[in-house]
Amino acid sequence: MASIGQTVARTPSGEVLSRAQQRAMLVPDCLVEARRIANTVIAGWHGRRKRGIGENFWQFRPYSQGESLSRIDWRRSARDDHTYVRDREWEAAHTIWLWADLSPSMMYKSTLGAVSKESRALVLMLALAEILARSGERIGCPGVMEPVSARNAAERLATAIMLSPLGEGLPETGMIRGASDLVLIGDFLDPANEVMGRLGPLARRGLRGHVVEIADPAEEVFPYAGRTEFTDPESGEKLTAGRAEILREDYQRAYRARRDSLGESLRHVGWTFIPHRTDRPASEALVAVHMYLSGMPTRATHGGQL
């Protein structure tokens, strides 16, 4: 009997990138809510609808005493008796850190799922990068890529992942300064309190996080029957179930309980939690993240569940 689930090879990032760009095309530009980025000073593409550092004209205003003479717009001032100063619109970018868990448990694809969890996670990550880069945000990946603000940020992220593959577990996050957004994509199969033990400190540092939980349908519905030996791809531990079908109910209950508890804890610290199944289109999760990032938390479709 062919097995339902299998471990798959790592997906080449080039292939993921092209798929991610396709997904990203479907999603409109993302304008990250500017509520929390008042103090960011690095120039971005978003006009902030107020005076500040930027390229575009905002307004002329009368010169006031004490300002530098070099700021006077002489062409405008020549037209009448007043002297004017040209103000520009403040354009600022926001930093968004993307991270996908590529631990062995992610290299899993069952016959029920369309792609492996790892592949889906990468697609999501790069698609997000594409969308956000299109909007002029600064994209970073902890431990892999410093934040960059470039139109080809998704390509650069794909190249960076190819050169230094993402490790297992959450990387060093010391370089993430406050007022950034963090998008974590993974399967988060560890017990909820362990996951929260790792994420809690980040939340307390003021980061805003969005957790995308990727699950294979086989993990959720448990379609096994008969004598089955289960292997954990991460620890290599084995469990042999004499008749797997009698475990299904209990397992599903435990699985949902874990997911609920994790989601509840995350919302509690102000983060968002998006469960996603690999048999669903990736765009679903993408749109959900996009909306959270844009500050529209109302109508998230949670991959068809919840």
């Binding site: 009997m1 097995s3 339902i4 689930g5 299998q6 471990t7 448990s105 992610m106 899993y108 399967d187 199969l189 560890d190 017990p191 294979d216 993990e219 096994y224 008969g226 004598r227 089955t228 030996e229 289960f230 292997t231 954990d232 791809p233 991460e234 620890s235 290599g236 531990e237 084995k238 469990l239 042999t240 179930a241 004499g242 008749r243 475990l247 209990d250 397992y251 209950r253 435990a254 699985y255 874990r258």
Partner: protein, 937 residues
């Protein structure tokens, strides 16, 4: 036997067990099947809800088949199928008589002989016949027919003996046993070797058996070594063989005493040749290490030839009167002897410089030869020891030198009477020329060596002419004066080379002839060591030390071997009482080999026998399928185990990693618990004082026992110490008074010895220690303090102090002396001095005479002698002049009262100390102007 097939089951009843195989089939099907393997990332969640439960299920059919095959194989194996079952053709008219050779030649195939014999015994048991068994290697024979079980026991107890077969007594025993009732079958399991003038088959025929069966080994492959001889290029080995109808090449190997193969050669037998010779080519030094010769691939006592220590290297002890061995090796006489003899002999040297200790210590190691280079006088108590050792067979080789030349004429350890002093050939005041060597006399061991043309002797000691001097001479100079003389003493010998062993007297030590002369002399000596005490080694009987067993291995168990009787002129032979091996003790043994020299192996003459059957040991043997079947079953079991392990997933990567980590942990734990290193506490109570003395240089004086003298010595040396500290960079510590019986002398560069006739005479041990101190490089300054008192002494002209000094020096080995010459480095070591006054003036300072450079052109301001004089003698009372009290005021007036003389006395002391500490360094300094000029400065 089943039908025409040579195949039978020994236990056919067991085959009934095959019925059980279907039951096994049913039982074996109960095995859980292999589970479907699934990768499942959320295993932890699954584990939290899972309960253990296992359901038996069916195992695959092929695994069951495998197990049934295994069971069937075991059942068949127990049923014991046999191919070629042998038939029982013994004559049943009487008992079975067995005569079995258990000589050395049966050792390689003894197992097969036992098998063949026990098959015969089985046959006899089946026919209910009594069995009589005799072994030709045994001493007693019991040929009485007995039960087959008893015969089997005796067969199991028998083993091949390292002896030739002795069939006469065995045949006699058989004949007696079957005198009245002749045996049915007589079987003779033979090695095929006929001893000289024995007619075995004829005698066998006369016993009157109904059937005679001769069971032989296959090829008649017996080979044996019969002798060795040492030849110029290698060791020649003789071998003999039994079967002569082909060509054969044997490789022979020489082993050393530890059993390592160190050389090899080959022996080629021609067609029809029973005896052949071969050579093991090896250098002389290597051949000395041969302990036994063996034939490769033939592990028998006959194919092993033991060598005794006729081939061994000699142990040679070396003694020298010189102290310069370490610092200037090329000037040490032992250097040349060492280099010449190292390839041919084991050299031992004493650890102590004190001859009174060193000589007994050396003799205890039982050397064959003792070489003494330039020793004029030995401690009194060692003479009887040495004389005894020489009488017991030791060989004493002596070399002349300045000390021997100066020694008194009554030395008992020289072969000829010597004239005192040496003779110099050539030089400014001599008409004679340095002499070459003459041809070696015919009675000399050196005869046959080419006459050396390039050796010139410049200096030698001369023998008093006597009537037998010619016979005692081994080598002459061209003018007929002897160069090497010898004399036999009881079992031993004394040899004297009339030149020194280093290259100052002649260039002999640096020529190849020196090596050859020494080698030949040493080879004359008795090997195996000579005891220093007790009576001479003239063993009539030698206890067994190591014996050969039949496999040609030396073993320590001597069993019931008797001591070997060695009679002059008779070669001992191998008997049951004296099996081949080594007889004697570890220090010296005689080898007894199985076959005498020039023996030859001859086959048994079969033409003498009556009608008989000849069988081979290896015929179409019956063989059992049992082992093969059991092996098959075991292999199936292993295969089954591996399959089950695979099914259970035991070879997954994780388990391996776990096993490896456990292993690493165990190794680490082992490393943690290794015991700590401990070191023994080897300090001695006197160590601290010695370390204190080693920190700074100290002047030392001998405590004579007379308070007045000792006080003066102490304050004198203190005065000199102060003077040295003021005037030179040398800042010695406080003077030290020495008890020469007990204190460590080697810490002090010079020892001041005020000789006093009224003080107690030092003991011989004390003098011996002083001798060792001087030999080890120290210097003793004897001060008789009698420059003026000798004038008023007795008419003999010597003062009591001088007489005492003579008494002390009589037991010391001292070199020839001379007053300090004007160009000696002592006169220039720090101050420029012409004489060495003390409290008195006028007495010369005597030091070791220097011969070497006397005839050099004397344009140099100082002579550079090598080394430092070990002795200085003066009568000027140095300490009296140096003595100051604690305020630095002189204690004693000088005679005559001249303060400049005191100043010169101090300067003499400074020069002596500088000379002690720097040696001939100052003499080398005189080249400084020339060196600077050459450097262009």
């Amino acid at each position: 036997m089943i039908g025409g097939l040579a195949f039978a089951f020994a236990n056919p009843a067991i085959l009934a067990a095959l019925v059980a195989v279907p039951v096994i089939w049913w039982l074996l099907r109960m095995m859980p099947p292999r589970p479907a393997a699934e990768v499942f990332p959320p295993l932890r969640i699954l584990a939290s809800v899972m309960k253990r439960e296992e359901t038996p299920s069916k195992s695959p059919w092929w695994l069951t088949l495998l197990r049934m095959l295994m069971a069937a194989a075991v059942i068949f194996a127990i049923a014991d199928p046999v191919f070629n079952p042998r038939s029982n053709t013994l004559a049943s008219s009487g008992p079975l008589a067995l005569m079995i050779d258990n000589s050395w030649a049966t050792a390689p195939d003894w197992e097969r002989r036992v098998e063949a014999t026990s098959a015969l015994i089985d046959d006899a048991e089946a026919k209910d016949l009594a069995v009589s068994i005799v072994f030709t290697g045994d001493r007693q024979h019991d040929a009485t027919p007995a039960s087959a079980a008893a015969a089997r026991t005796r067969l199991a107890a028998a083993a091949p003996e390292p002896l030739p077969a002795d069939r006469r007594s065995a045949l006699a025993a058989l004949k007696t046993a079957f005198d009245t009732s002749p045996p049915g079958t007589i079987a003779f399991v033979t090695d095929g070797i006929e001893p000289a003038d024995a007619k075995t088959m004829e005698a066998l025929d006369q016993i009157g058996a109904a059937e005679i069966r001769v069971i032989e080994a296959d090829g008649g492959q017996a080979v044996a070594l019969t002798g060795t001889s040492n030849e110029s290029i290698g060791m020649s080995v003789t071998a003999t063989r039994l079967k002569t109808d082909d060509r054969r090449s044997l490789s022979i190997v020489a082993y050393d005493s530890r059993g390592r193969a160190i050389a090899d050669g080959a022996i080629d037998f021609g067609l029809g040749a029973a005896v052949a010779k071969g050579t093991i080519e090896a250098p002389f030094e290597l051949r000395n290490d041969f302990a036994r010769i063996g034939i490769e691939g033939a592990a028998t006592a006959g194919a092993t030839h033991l060598l005794d220590d006729g081939f061994r290297r000699r142990r040679v002890a070396l003694l020298s009167g010189e102290a310069r061995d370490l610092s200037q090796p090329l000037l040490s006489p032992l250097y040349y002897i060492n280099r010449a003899l190292t390839p041919y002999a084991d050299l031992i040297e004493p650890r102590e410089t004190d001859l009174a200790v060193a000589i007994p210590e050396l003799l205890e190691q039982r050397p064959s030869v003792l070489i003494m280079a330039d020793i004029g006088r030995l401690p009194e108590e060692t003479y009887p020891l040495l004389a005894k050792w020489i009488e017991n067979g030791g060989m004493l080789i002596r070399f002349a030198g300045p000390r021997l030349a100066a020694a008194p004429a009554d030395d008992p350890l020289v072969p000829v009477t010597l004239r005192q002093g040496e003779r110099a050939l050539g030089g400014a005041l001599s008409w004679s020329e340095p002499q070459p060597l003459a041809d070696y006399p015919a009675n000399s061991p050196f005869a046959g060596m080419a006459k050396p043309s390039d050796i010139l002797v410049k200096r030698q000691v001369l023998a008093e002419p006597t009537a037998d001097l010619v016979e005692r001479t081994w080598a002459n100079l061209a003018d007929g004066t002897p160069l090497v003389t010898t004399s036999a003493r009881s079992n031993g010998r004394i040899v004297l080379f009339h030149v020194s062993a280093e290259a100052t007297w002649s260039n002999l030590p640096i020529s190849g002839h020196f090596v050859e002369m020494l080698r030949r002399s040493v080879q004359l000596s008795r090997s195996g060591g000579v005891a220093g005490e007790g009576k001479a080694v003239q063993a009539h009987t030698l206890a067994p030390f190591r014996l050969l067993n039949a496999d040609g291995v030396l073993v320590a168990e001597t069993g019931n071997a008797r001591p070997l009787e060695v009679q002059p002129g008779k070669t001992p032979v191998t008997t049951p009482d004296n099996p081949p091996g080594l007889y004697g003790s570890e220090d010296g043994f005689t080898a007894l080999n199985l076959l005498p020299r020039d023996a030859e192996l001859k086959p048994i003459d079969m033409t003498l026998a009556g009608p008989h059957i000849v069988e081979r040991l290896t015929r179409a043997e019956s063989w059992s399928l049992k082992p093969a079947l059991l092996t098959l079953a075991l292999l199936l079991l292993i295969a089954d185990a591996v399959i089950v392990l695979f099914m259970g997933g035991a070879f997954s990567r994780l388990r391996m990693a776990r096993a490896a980590s456990v292993l690493v942990l165990m190794v680490a734990a082992g490393a943690l618990f290794t015991p700590q290193q401990a070191s023994a506490d080897d300090t001695r109570p006197d160590d601290e004082r010695i370390l204190e003395r080693l920190d700074t240089t100290h002047l030392a004086y001998v405590v004579t026992g007379e308070d007045e003298v000792d006080r003066l010595s102490e304050s004198g040396l203190r005065g000199l110490t102060d003077f040295l500290t003021y005037r030179t960079t040398l800042e010695p510590g406080a003077p030290v008074g020495l008890d020469i019986m007990r204190d460590e002398l080697s810490l002090y560069p010079i020892i001041y010895w005020p000789v006093s006739a009224s003080a107690p005479m030092p003991s011989p041990q004390a003098v011996s220690r002083i001798d060792a101190y001087m030999r080890a490089g120290g210097t003793v300054l004897f001060d008789t303090r009698d420059q003026f008192s000798s004038l008023g002494a007795a008419s003999s002209g010597t003062s009591p102090n001088t007489e005492r000094l003579q008494a002390i020096l009589a037991n010391l080995d001292i070199p020839p002396l001379e007053p300090v010459p004007a160009d000696h480095v002592l006169t220039k070591a720090f101050y420029l001095l012409t004489n060495f006054p003390g409290r008195y003036t006028g007495s010369p300072l005597w030091i070791e005479a220097q011969f070497e450079n006397r005839d050099e052109p004397s344009n140099r301001p100082a002579r550079s002698g090598d080394g430092v004089t070990p002795i200085m003698i003066t009568g000027n009372d140095f300490a009296g002049a140096w003595a100051v009290d604690t305020n630095g005021v002189a204690l004693l007036p000088t005679i005559p009262p001249d303060e400049m003389q005191r100043e010169y006395a101090f300067r003499s002391g400074v020069n002596i100390m500088m000379y002690m500490l720097t040696g001939n360094y100052k003499a080398d300094q005189v080249h400084v102007p020339a060196l600077l000029e050459r450097l262009g400065q």
